[in-house]
């Protein structure tokens, strides 16, 4: 007797596919910056509260990632880089992604409120709304400034971390937000310069498509220059100190130099060396954010030992 079984319809999703929906790589940046925001705050939290808060902030970020993938499934299916994601490849049904996103949003906000305070929970809820609705639904397909506004969603985590500890927003929290906010456009536009994706067919107005590549290069330079005073100001507040100031000055000089090199180049030169400068700037921008936030953390450690900070 022969038995033939055919599994047609949707391929069964693995646990990893659901993890993919939460954009784990973006989550790692969220975890790091939120942790720094929490640890440099003048009020200390119990280690268990820190772990819980970081977990729920990461979960909230993951939830907004799932909602974003649900909404953008049509774009992801068109573009080479995102075609293999769980939704466009058919491993996860759209309803499942929406359900997971909504459920995790609720759980993360309520649990962060219980673990720390209501202000932090409110800010996390706003961040999820901002990324999933304001950025993904309203602005991403409407304006070439989508990267700038979307950057705000990625800039909230250190502020949420700070509010978890202190219960309110202060200048330091706003400046940590501003550093990531100003850093995001040059970081992503450098990527857009060398990743020649078919945003056009996907219907996403990227600056490289709508305003051309020379304009994008100019934008990278302008935002890099604007980032400098913000980073220096942050280093001059209570989260900074001589070490942070020195690190910020060096990093920003380097950042602006890289952006200047990008601005000076023509497309022909860039294509000739396969976007070497753009790729180098992109890699450096990742290092920039990591080092500058690590400097805040080290400064806080030094201050606790009676060495760093402004006295």
């Amino acid at each position: 007797m022969t038995e033939i079984r055919v599994f047609d319809g949707q391929p069964e999703a693995s646990f990893g596919d659901y993890v993919q929906l939460l954009k784990p790589r973006v989550m790692s940046l969220v975890v790091f910056t939120a942790l720094v925001g929490m640890l440099v705050a003048p009020v200390g939290l119990h280690p268990v509260e820190v772990v819980a808060a970081i977990l729920f902030i990461a979960l909230g970020a993951g939830a907004s990632g799932a909602l974003n993938m649900w909404w953008d499934a049509d774009i992801d299916a068109v573009m080479q880089r995102t075609r293999g994601r769980p939704l466009p490849s058919g491993r996860v049904a759209p309803g499942e992604a929406l359900g997971l996103g909504l459920a995790l949003s609720g759980i993360s906000v309520v649990m962060l409120g219980l673990a720390t305070n209501l202000a932090a929970a409110g800010l996390l809820a706003f961040t999820i709304f901002f990324y999933a609705v304001v950025y993904s639904v309203w602005l991403k397909r409407a304006t070439p400034q989508n990267i700038v506004i979307g950057g705000a969603a990625g800039a909230f985590p250190p502020m949420i971390g700070w509010v978890c500890a202190t219960g309110s927003i202060s200048l330091e929290a706003v400046l940590m937000f501003a550093v990531i906010f100003m850093w995001t456009p040059p970081h992503f536009w450098a990527l857009a310069l060398f990743m020649k994706e078919d945003y056009h067919t996907a219907g996403v107005p990227m600056l490289t498509v709508t305003h051309g590549r020379p304009a994008t290069r100019a934008h990278v330079l302008v935002y890099s220059v604007l980032l400098t005073p913000v980073a220096i100001w942050a280093a001059a507040t209570s989260i900074g100190g001589p070490l942070t100031l020195a690190v910020s000055v060096v990093l920003n000089l380097w950042f602006v130099k890289g952006a200047y090199d990008i601005w000076r180049r023509t497309e022909t030169v860039a294509e000739a060396d396969r976007y070497r400068i753009e790729k180098r700037f992109f890699r450096f921008s990742l290092l920039y954010l990591f080092v500058i936030f690590a400097a805040y953390l080290v400064e806080a450690g030094l201050k606790a030992a009676g060495l760093g900070g402004w006295t």
Binding site: E12, S14, F15, Y18, H46, V48, E49, A52
Partner: protein, 69 residues
């Protein structure tokens, strides 16, 4: 009677169920730890035990001043 090798789909389902199970156990452990921390670090608490505690008896002087014109 024959033993068939289980289809790959069952292995994937098992992996998924195991993942969800471990997540739930982790979540319970975290909430428990959080509860212990909140309770042990909380402000001094007083449970009502249905007996007159001195602290609950109003001070006559305060009560007098409250009704005085």
């Amino acid at each position: 009677m024959s033993f068939r090798a289980p289809h790959e789909i069952y292995r994937r389902r098992f992996g998924r169920n195991l993942g969800v199970g471990l997540l739930l156990v982790g979540f319970v452990a975290l909430v428990f730890a959080l509860t212990v921390v909140k309770v042990t670090r909380g402000d001094s608490m007083q449970g009502f035990d249905h007996t007159a505690a001195p602290v609950n008896i109003p001070d006559p002087a305060v009560a007098q001043s409250a009704v005085a014109p």
